[in-house]
Every structure is written in C-alpha cells, then in structure tokens.
Symmetry: C2
Amino acid sequence: MLNTRQLQILQLIIDDFINNGMPVGSRTISKNPTLAISSATIRNEMADLEELGYIYQPHTSAGRVPSDLGYRLYVDSLAADKLLDAEQRVLIRNLLLSGKIKAEEIVEKAAHLLAEMTGLAIVASYPGFKKRALSNLKLIKISDAKVLLILVSDNEVVKSITLSFSGTNQDILDLISNSLVRNLEGSTIEDIDIKKISRLKYDLKQYGNVIDYLVPILRDSLKNIEDNEFYIDGFENFLTVPEFSNSEKARKMYRLFERKEILNELFDDIQSEGIFIKIGDENKITELNECSVITTAYRYRSKDLGKIVVIGPKRMDYRGIISVVEYTRNTLSDIFSGIYL
Amino acid sequence: MLNTRQLQILQLIIDDFINNGMPVGSRTISKNPTLAISSATIRNEMADLEELGYIYQPHTSAGRVPSDLGYRLYVDSLAADKLLDAEQRVLIRNLLLSGKIKAEEIVEKAAHLLAEMTGLAIVASYPGFKKRALSNLKLIKISDAKVLLILVSDNEVVKSITLSFSGTNQDILDLISNSLVRNLEGSTIEDIDIKKISRLKYDLKQYGNVIDYLVPILRDSLKNIEDNEFYIDGFENFLTVPEFSNSEKARKMYRLFERKEILNELFDDIQSEGIFIKIGDENKITELNECSVITTAYRYRSKDLGKIVVIGPKRMDYRGIISVVEYTRNTLSDIFSGIYL
DNA sequence: GCTTGGCACTCGAACGAAGAGAGTGCTAAC
DNA sequence: GTTAGCACTCTCTTCGTTCGAGTGCCAAGC
C-alpha cells in the first residue's frame, strides 16, 4: 500500500513525534541524511500520507502528527523486536529474584519495576486463587483469641485469614489441620462445602466440642475469601506526560482505574500468549481512546496465571516498552513455574 | 494577646479561606451577622492582625490569607473537638472490621479509608515485626520445591517467607516446626541465631540430613526479613487541591514520599499518644513547608504499634480531619488490642 | 474614642490587538 | 519527479488597556 519512501517518512515522523511530542514539519524530516530529498517533496508525500489517514495536522499551519492508523502501521512494522540489552535483563531478573517472597509480592514488585522502567502506568492481576484446587492448609495459633488459617492452592498461591477462635492449642490445631487437608485436598477453594468440613467430627471425635465451635467459623471465612484482584502502580507517571499533565485529565485516568468493572472489562479482553497493543480508538473503553494499552499474561507452567496491562499515552516508546514488558513477563513466568527455584 | 473580636475575625477569615481558598476581603467578613460591624472596622482589625503576624496579603490589593501562625492559633483554639457523627463512626468501624484479615491489610484498609474520607494523602507504618519476640512458627509445604515459613510475633503480626526446599513432607515439617517453636519462642526475631536453630539436630536426630540442608536456608531467610515499612495512599488527592494542581508540584510531593529517608525522618519525629499537627514551616522537612502534617500512633494494648501520617495543604478542614483521624486511630488500636475479637 | 462612609489608589486577571514564527499548499521551473 | 519560491494560515507570545476587588486613610458621626 505504501511505497518504501512513504513508509520511511512515516516512521521518521512517528519517531520524531515520540521523542519530541510536537507536530513534525517537512523541514525536520528533509534534514534526515538517509533521505536526501527536499522539504517540498516531503510536503507532497505528507499530503499523500494524510490523505491515506496515517497522519494529520492539528491545525492548518502545523506539522504532522501520527493518527491511530499511523501508530498501528508503525507498531506492526516493528517486527525486528529489539532485544533488551544484557544489563537491563540482569537488572530485571535480579530484582525479581531478590528475596523469595509471596506470589502477590512478586507481582507487585514486577509491576513496580515496569512502572519505573517504562515510565507508564501498570495494572496487574494477581494469580487466581478461588477457582484453584486446595493443596495444603494449616491452622496456626496467633494469640489466645486468634488463629491464622493458611491456604495453599495448587498453583502455589498462599492466602491467610485470621479467625477469632480461642480455647485451643497448637497441637490440636495441627490435628485439625491434618484432618482438613485430607478431606479438602483437591477441592476447588470457592466450592469447599460444609459437608466436607464436617467430616472433621468423625476424624477427631475426642475434640467434638472444639470442632463444633470451629466449623461455622471456617465455613464463613472460606466464603469470604476474595481474590485481591488488581495491583496498580505508576499512575503518577501520568503527571509527567505533557498530554496528561493537565491534572484534571491525570485524575480522570486515576479514577478510571479505581472502577473495578472497568478493570474487569479491560482484563477480560486480554488474549493469552504474546503481547498485544491497542492504540487509541482501538480500545473498547472510550476513556482510553487517548491512550495505548499494552497487555500480556504471565504463566504458571503452561497456564495463564495473571495479566499485566501497561497504560500510557499513544505517544510512547513502543519498541523499548515492548521489550521490557516481554522480558519481565517471561521472567515472571519462569519464577512462577519454578525455573529459578 | 488577641481580644475576643480579633480572635473571632481571625477564625472567620480562616474558616472562609479553608472553604473557598481565596484571600478573604473585609466586606466578606463584615457580612457575618454575629459580628455586625462595617468593613472599614474589619479593615482596621485586619491591619492589626497582619501586624501581629496572623494573616498576610498575597499582594497589596488582595484580601487576607492566614499565616502559619494564624493557622496555629486557629488549630489550638479548636479545643472543642468535634465528635464524629454516629453515621461516620459506624461506617469506619464496619469497614475496618469487615473480614478478619492480616495486620498489614487492616492498616492498608484504614489508610485507604482515611485517604477517602479526608481527601488527603496518607502514609502509615505497619506494625513492627523484626524487633518483636517470636511467638509461633510453622513450615508449610507448598509444592515439591517450595516450603512456606510462617512467623508470628508476640504483637500478633504474621509474616510469611517462601523457601526453596525439597525432599520432605508435611509430617516432617510439622515435627521441625514444633521443635523450632520450642527452641526459638520468645527470641527477638531479628536476633534469632544459628545456635538456637541448630538445636534442631539434637531434637530430631532421625532427620539429620534434612535438617542439615534446612538450617542454612532458614538462617538466610530470617536474616533477609524486612519490615515492610510504609504504606502510602491518596496521593492522587493532591491533584484536586488547587494549591498543588500544578502537576509539577503534585509530582514533587509524590517523589518526596518515595524517599525512605524522608519517611523515616518524618516518622521518627512522631510522639506517642494524641494527635499532633505541624503547620507549614513548623515541619522540619523543608519540602513540606507548604503542607500541614497530622500524625498519630495506633497501639497494641499500651504500646505503640505503628503510626499514621496525614499530609495535605495547609488549607484543610482541620476540625473534621482531626476527628476522623482520631476515631480511625482509636478503632485501629481497639482492633489490634483484640477489643473487637 | 471607636466606628463608619467615602474616596483615591493598587494590583492582578481578563481581554484584545499586533507581531513573530513555524509550517503549509501551490505554482512554475528544472 | 523534484525543488525553490512565495503567499497564506494559524498559533503563540507580548504588550497595553480595562475592569474590579480590595485596600488604606481621612474626616465625619455616634
């Protein structure tokens, strides 16, 4: 559709616009030594590119700015994915590996790292829990009145819940824990039912009264488990982006991401495998029509574990950001899949 | 020092300025029915108040704005602390009590709630952990290669650490956990030493090789425990404050609170008991000279557990905010002290 | 002697005109 | 097909003007 020169000019315009954020004039492009054509010729080509919808003028006497279509072509032609340089790769890996911590914390760390490295806003979903199978469980005495219930899912995510429960000791709790694991292991966490819990009574007849007291507490607690759905980081980055430095706009963006239904809509739309980019109007959520949204999923072995969404202005360093996101995603997947352990 | 009328005028000026954010003119004050004096008289009084340093003019033909000294007098004369209305009290308590969760999560919830209710930025420190005594401990198998170490401190704070540790089963882990608890219970967590851990060997001779493998992992993990020091929330609120809506300023504030040494300085300065307010230049940290900082500490029984800092522009609804902060602090203390459990 | 109406004065905010500058489209020549 | 040249357009900045809110001070009044 576009000839080589047109494509080259379009790329130069977009590169320049990404760097400087100001409409690009024909003279700027004509200065490029690999092109060696005059500004007048560039102007003619620009008029064509505009007619084809790849660029437009904010006003009559301004330079050109890429349209969504222009960005799309630009992004699609970034086939030669820049590999992250070794230094950055080591940095990311070391930061994510430092301190062996909980799944949630690793995701948060990765999102924070991404926010810092990309200078954009990040939303990440935590590894799922409720829909997974239970793989281990433990009751731990915290104080005279409190017991901690630890649940481990088959995707190695851990949750803890504090119960109000007194008049027991750790030895009894261990017995109860063991019995519960035997009875509940393999059940989907959100579907754990009272019947299975009640089998405790038969296992541990001698502690009947303790169990009678504990069962309803356990049931209620399990019912109230919630997936901590999203972690948000780097929204303050919107404050430095000239396109959003109008604090009204920045705040609107922030408020947008406090709305769970918006996040759900955004996350439901993410396909697995690879990295996806939605530019401007390509986003279904109209509030994001001025943004580009880059999404990917991190995995546990061969299943999706959670998703990462990068949100920024359409004017962003796609090439660099894609490579950082990709490497972080892969590292995260490796960590969760146990490659590094 | 000030006569009744002067004090009244000062309060009216500050009330009006807090509400409207614009310099207050003599005519505005003279309209107040309880005063019933002309604007000319107000002007004379204002000139006196300015001479005394309680108010000042941003420029010659503008109204008056409270100085730090003026705010100080205003805040100190707010003796009749407004009690929070029952509705808000119930709201705060229910929100903080809903779902019995971990200490960290309760603090985060409280900070988030405060950010929403006050419209200001909140920094909270989590309950301390490293300097506390160990009260319970448990190893839980997560997968073939991972074991979770759960630590409970005597102030009922729970931490979990993932260890890479394979070739064992939950029964052995239970035995090891029990032995560790016996040997380490009461030790200060950051001081747990290898010697005490090594006693495992004598307790559980039959698992000698497992123990030899586990001890160094445990030691390293315990060394690397870090107190998750601070939780920050509501900084986006700075975007709505006209005084900071200049996004440069808002961003500066945000960056300020990413610096741990600043937060440490801020938190070290907090006294216990009660609610403290630093206005403008009263803050040692020069970057906060345009802000007011309200601080308080939540407690576990009769000892400080963590601190809460509210940061906003000097122009804030001190009366309302103090009462919200106070009630939240008290509720938090009650929850941690087990009053509600 | 405090209070008040009146008045000249001051200063910032808003508005508009003028000028500069960047960039364009078009035309005619190469 | 490319390019130099030129008229044209539109934004941005600057500068002066006006408008209005608010002041300080003075002289009269209670």
